[in-house]
Structure formats: C-alpha cells, structure tokens
C-alpha cells in the first residue's frame, strides 16, 4: 500500500489505462470506443512522463558548463511520449474516418446494430 501511495502517478496511469482498455473493448459505440482508446494511450503517456521526471533535477539542457548527467532528468521518455502522441493522432484520424463511413452507410454508430443490419443485408456473401 505504501508503494502504491509513493508511486501514485504510476497507479493513476494504470487506472486510466484500464478504464480506456475496458471502454475500447466493451462499449458498442464507435465514438466511445475511440475515446476509450485515447484514454488508454494517455494513461501510458502519463506513465512514461512520470517515469522520466526525477525530483529535484534540472531540464536536460546544459547550463553553466555543468555536464554531469546526475543533475539532469532523462529526456528520452518525453520524446517517446511525443512519438506516441503522433501515432495516437494518426490512429484517431483513421478511426474517425471509419466512424463517418459507418454512419453514412448504416445511420448509426452502435456496432451491434450495424452488425445486425449487415447480417440482414447478407453483406458477407
């Protein structure tokens, strides 16, 4: 329990990840699924960002000739978060375009209803 409180940022990150994961898996609405995916990814980025920050250290920009790495935080997690955000944005764009197409064709965003409609139209043949 003590560890959980000490690492509260990581714990929150994992809770966010779980909320997003369950939403993406179980919600039937495409837009809610998409929001779930973004929450899930944000959880991971929070995890990375909190891991990258070390208390009482400076931003990783050399000042006053101090090249001792012990005085700086690790810049790599921040760059990983940035890369991850770019990936998330691309995936979100593709998923939104799929949602638009589904709505145009079936006039609903509920995947269960869409699936039932598709079966009635025998589209899989």
């Amino acid at each position: 329990m003590g560890n959980l409180i000490y690492n509260y940022e990581e714990a929150v990150a994992l809770i966010l990840f779980s909320v997003g994961f369950v939403t993406l898996l179980f919600h039937r609405n495409m837009i809610r699924k998409l929001i779930g995916m973004n929450i899930m990814d944000s959880g991971i980025y929070l995890f990375l960002a909190s891991m990258g920050y070390i208390y009482d250290r400076r931003a990783p920009i050399v000042e006053g000739g101090d090249t001792n790495p012990v005085n700086y935080i690790n810049p790599v997690p921040a760059s990983l978060v940035l890369t991850g955000i770019v990936v998330s944005v691309s995936v979100t764009a593709v998923m939104l375009s799929l949602a638009v197409r589904l709505y145009e064709r079936y006039h609903t965003l509920n995947l269960d209803e869409i699936y039932a409609m598709s079966r009635r139209r025998s589209e899989h043949r």
Binding site: F17, G20, F21, L24, L25, M30, K33, M37, M40, D41, I44, F47, L48, M51, V76, P77, L80, T83, G84, V87, S90, V91, V94, M95, L98, A99, R101, L102, R105, L111, I114, Y115, S118, E123, H124, R125
Partner: protein, 501 residues
Amino acid sequence: MSFIENLPFLSVVVFLFAAVVCSVLKPRAARAFTAAVEALVVVFSALTLFYTYTVGEPFRYNMGHFDAPWSNQLRAGVLDALAALAFSSVLLLSHIGGIRYAKIDIEQKKQNSYCTLLNLIGAALMALSYTNDLFTGYVFLEILTLSSCGILVIRRQGRTTLAAARYMVINLLGSGLFLLGVTLFYGTTGHLLMEYIKVGVENLDATGEYSIPLTVTIGLVSAGLAIKSGLFPFHTWMPDTYGTATPTSSAILSGIVSKGYIFLLIKIMYRVVGTGTAAMTAACHILYVFGMIGIVMGSFWAIKSKYLNRMIAYSSAAQIGYIFVGIGLGGDAGFRAAIFQVLAHAFTKPLLFIAGARLSEASGDSQAFSALQGSAHRSRAAGAAFAIGAMSMVGIPTLAGFSTKLYFAIAAVEHGTLVDLATLAVLAVSTLLNALYFIRTVIRIYTPSPAPEPLPTFEPSPDKHDPGLAAAVGFAAGILFLGIFPGTVSSLILTGLSMFG
C-alpha cells in the same frame, strides 16, 4: 563495412520512398513501380541472407552517428534476412497475383493510393524484420496496422468498413498492451535496444528481483502481439476481414501482416527476454494452451462455413494456433517448427485466396460452395493452384504443410511429458479436420456442375496473359521448395536462431 550491410536500412527506405512517389503517379505506373521496388527488396533480402550466412554472424547498423545504446539500431542475422526475404517475396507475388481484382474492386482514382499502402506495409515489415529497438518496433507495428486497415477499407463494397472497424478495435487493444509492456521494459531496465534490455532482464531473473513486474511485462507484450496476430479467442475479425477485402489484401493480411507481429514476438522472446527465464516459461504455457484451442476451434468453424473465403479465413485462425503451439513448446525445436509454419503459411494462404478468387469469378462471382461446384473445370489453372494449396494445408508429403507437421511432431516428442501426447493428439485431430474441409472443397470444385450449361460467360483464356498465373506458380514453387527441401530451410532457421539472441 561491406556495402551489403546497408541493405537492411535501404530495404526500409526504398519502400518509404516508393510510398511517397506512388501518391503522385498514374495507377498503371504506380503498379509497375511498386512491383519493381518489391522485386528490388527481394534481391536486397536474398543478398543479406547470403551475406549473413556466409559470414556466420549478425551485423548491426547504427543510425544517428552514435554507438549503441545511444543510437537507433538495425540488426541483421540469418533469420531476420530469411523473414525479410519471405515477406518481400509474398508481398510481390500477392500484389501481382491480385492485380486483376484490384483493378475491378478499387476505384480508378485510388489505385495509386493502394500502391502507397502496399509500400508502407513493405516498409513496416522490413523494419519489424530488422529492428533492434523496441520502440521502433512499436511505431512500425502501428504503421503496419494503419496501412493494413487501408488496404482493407479501400474496397467500398459489402461490409468492408465494418470489418475494418472490428479489425482496428482488436488491433488497438493489442497495441495498447504492447506499448504498456514496452514502457515497463524501459522502466525496469532503462533501455530500448533489445540486447541491452536482455542484460537487465537476465540480471533481474538471476537475483529474483521484480519477478512479478517482469512476468506482467512479458505477459503484456506477448498478449498484445498474440491479439494482433489473431490468436484464439481474438480471431473473430478474421472471416469478415479476409472474406471481404480484395484478394491481394486478403493474401497480404493473412499471409504476412499477422506473421510480422509473430516474428516480432519471437524476436522479443529470444533477444529481449531470453528463452530460459522463468517469466518466459509462464508466458509460453499460456500461449500454448490458446494455440491448441485455436487449432481445433478454427478447423471446426472452417468445416461449418458455407462460403469459400470464410472457410479459408477460419483455417487461418487454426494455422495461427499452430505457430503459437510451436512458440509454447519452446526450445530450438519448438521455435523451428513455429518459424517453418510462418514460412509455409505465408506461401500457402495467399495462393488459396488468389486461386479462390479466380474460382469464384468462374462461378458467377459467388463464394458459396454450391455455386463453386465444377469451377476447377471452368478455370483449370486456378483449380490446380487451389488443389496444391489445399493439399499443403492437409499435409500431403512433398508439400510445405507436411514438413511443418513433421517439425511440430519432432518438437513435441522432445519434451518427454504429457505435453507430447496432447500436442500429437491435437496435431492428428487437426490434420483430420483439415483433410475434411479442404479435400471436400477440392472434390467439390472438381465435380462437374449438374447444370447443363454451367456459366458459359467465363472465358479461361485470361489465364494465359494474367500475372495471376505467374504469381500462383511462384507460390506453388515456394510450397514445393519448403516441402521437398525442408532440411535446407531447417538448417537456415537453426543457424538463424543460434545468432538471434
């Protein structure tokens, strides 16, 4: 440094360059350019394979002017190059094999975009084959997922959009788990380059520290990649996805995209975790159980299917199960069987999809078995190609499927426990079930149609000048090579495994 050591990097970059160029080319030029680039990468991969086999050790290619661990790195050994060779060959053959249908299924103004997507898939597969960096693996994994969704949804017919949505949802679940696993690896070891993570993981394994987080991390990465590759029970997207896409897309998705994920998983098991660690053993056991269930259930649903493309798709779920059983058995024999199955399935399934499309075309564009009766007489080349693919899936000697089953049996008996019996029993049952639905299909397509004038609209003459025939010959040659010279391929795989870790 030999010039050949640049080829893995060039394989990725050439595909990326071609993807950009194709977006401004006319459709015909884009198709020709893409095929030329795919052929060029086949040559690059073959040269890399020859070089690494001759030298006898892998080479590393640093990017960013710094040595590891500060640079991004590619690493090429025999197995990496063999995977790249198989992926690029199947990509080329699937592309030219399905050109005829891509022209019909895809709008004229989007034909060049389709080539762009094929090139992006090529780039992602080359990167997954050669990368030595986990986060680069994640980025290209997502590029592969997005471009796969693109080649699926580009055919605006039937339920392709719904199939793409389901495909994306399952894949995003897998990606999320994988990314969390990568993050935890980075958190526990401080590295993203695979070999450096392995040093950290081995230290933790030896001291017993962080054993639960380590097991969770390995579980997350394995589960993420298993979900993305369609392991039971996450295979439900397969029938819609493979069944509704244009044949080239079905061939690529089933033949190589899912294998790209599996290849990355095998690489992580060898190069990041190490096959001897305790956490690895736990992950392997779980994958083994789901693989076994997948083999039986996939075959069961394939038997129940009334449409050819859905039957082939369900059969893919069973074949993916085989690969995970090989991984679950572990050891060099288990991984050899898994990798052999990756190669055999990569050549067999696209052949079935492309031949199946031609048989369907000869039966009034219907995939229903009732309509396909006698189709092998209406399109002889497609009938023969389908028969070769189907016989290989069943495991007839001299074809790839037989060698695969042999290596699985060898891997199973090496254990000397109850696991052998279970694996051998499932292998036997699965062979029987495969025979049931594939041989039934072959008999059906060769049984003359009861109708007095069976669909006379189809002319068999296009067979002569269609690149589809050349592609089918290429796939069949691959299947025969794997079936007749399994020893050569096996020795390549074992050499590759010895320098993979």
